[in-house]
């Protein structure tokens, strides 16, 4: 299974030389099984460049939205496959009893916020709300679960070719249990992330920032390390970097958190453009 990071920034895109190494595009990750099955996780601004690589020979395209906050959907309007007549595109999003996914997406993809309505896109568009049971797309098995973040938000677990990853880009796991790691059964996202080979996880805040942002749906690098240790993840990839943190700040925050926590697993700083290959 191959994993490519097209956007790792949280909240809002950044630009400029000070954030060039980690990148400035917001959340977008491409996952591809060995049989070629591809899913795209989130449609932040990073999805624009990804869409440019998908030509007319591309088969079905699946985009899975962890939630509908702007930094996770902003790139949708600029995702080329949506503008390709007949291109089969499947958009997946979290369920919400009171409003179907189409209506929620139209709040952005319609005037006055965007000139073209989602329903006017020329592609062959299919909308799905995530089922609560695991499901398969080609060689990928996908399971979602609601996680702690404002508004309906899912974390995803993807398995293929004997490998597994969990994607929790926006997640506040210490709501409920308090400190991490303490109570797995009371920790949001635990079942999704249990024993995965690669955990892609929110690591937005430094410790000094979190106390002012409790309940905002994000966590610190220390929380991410604690959550990864609790779940038994083999590797943690830091993600959803705070736009206030430049490259040097992110290096420093990660080094300090690792010095405090001494993780027994590999910690990978999530950088835009990075390609990882999970090998059985």
């Amino acid at each position: 299974m191959k994993v490519r990071l097209w956007g790792t920034r949280g909240s809002v895109g950044t630009s400029g030389p000070s954030s060039a190494r980690y990148g400035g595009n917001t959340s977008c990750v491409e996952v591809q099984a060995d049989d070629g099955t591809r899913v795209i996780l989130d449609a932040g601004t990073g999805i624009r460049a990804l869409g440019a690589t998908l030509g007319p020979e591309t088969g079905r395209v699946d985009v899975m939205l962890s939630h509908l906050h702007m930094d996770h959907v902003q790139g949708l309007g600029f995702f080329r496959p949506l503008d390709q007549p007949g291109q089969e595109v499947h958009l997946w999003g979290p369920p919400a009893l009171r409003q179907p996914l189409e209506k929620r997406l139209h709040r952005y993809l319609a005037p006055p916020l965007f000139p073209v309505r989602l329903c006017e896109m020329p592609c062959d568009l299919h909308l799905h709300e995530f089922p609560s049971e695991p499901f398969r797309i080609g060689g990928l098995t996908i399971q979602v679960a609601m996680v702690c973040h404002p508004g309906p938000t899912v974390g995803l677990r993807i398995e293929a070719d004997g490998t597994s990853l969990a994607y929790l880009p926006d997640h506040e796991p210490c709501l409920g249990p308090g400190e991490l790691p303490q109570e797995p059964d009371w920790t949001s996202g635990f079942d999704i992330a249990r024993d995965v080979d690669l955990l892609i996880h929110d690591s937005q805040f430094g410790c000094h920032q979190y106390h002012r942002h409790v309940g905002w749906g994000h966590c610190t690098l220390d929380h991410a390390l604690g959550f990864a240790a609790m779940t038994g993840a083999r590797r943690l990839l830091t993600f959803h970097h705070d736009p206030r943190h430049d490259d040097n700040a992110l290096d420093t925050l990660l080094a300090e958190a690792c010095a405090r926590q001494s993780p027994r697993f590999e910690v990978i700083p999530g950088r835009e453009g990075m390609l990882l290959e999970l090998v059985r």
């Binding site: 490519r4 990804l50 080979d197 590999e266 090998v279």
Partner: protein
Amino acid sequence: MVAIDRLAAYEARQNNAPHGSGNATPGRSPGHTPTGSRQPIPLRPGPAQKPVELILTRQLAGYVDVATLLFDAALSLVFYNDAAAALLGRSFESTGPLTAPQRQMTLGLGSAAQDPVALAVSDNTPAHGHMTLRTFDATMVEVACTVVPMRGQTGESVGAVAYLWPVETR
């Protein structure tokens, strides 16, 4: 769990980055099978995680000074806060979770026939009433009890939350 021998993690070359040459992962025709085919994903044995709705309600219960009890979909008492501990005479840490029969027997919180939690969950409607509660030190306390069933965004029952207020008796 399948053992992983190695992980090849490397940054794409500068000219291979998404905003660079565009030489990204090759676009292959995936040959998808239809969605909806389902298979269970085996997980390491361990405690099952509570639904996030219960987790968030516990977070709220930790902040409010109203006796609050949480029940899972099986109607077990899975948490109560400090205000409830003051009313019941024992902390949750010392009692741990109680199954529906255990709480009915220990606290008298509903009988097997008229369990307000079970009624609220099965009818998917709030239940409210006055009742006599037996605390852990066997004191009888009159309380007003409101039970609110909880459903997730897919409509499934995830349990219930009960609020208790002591009632002045003459």
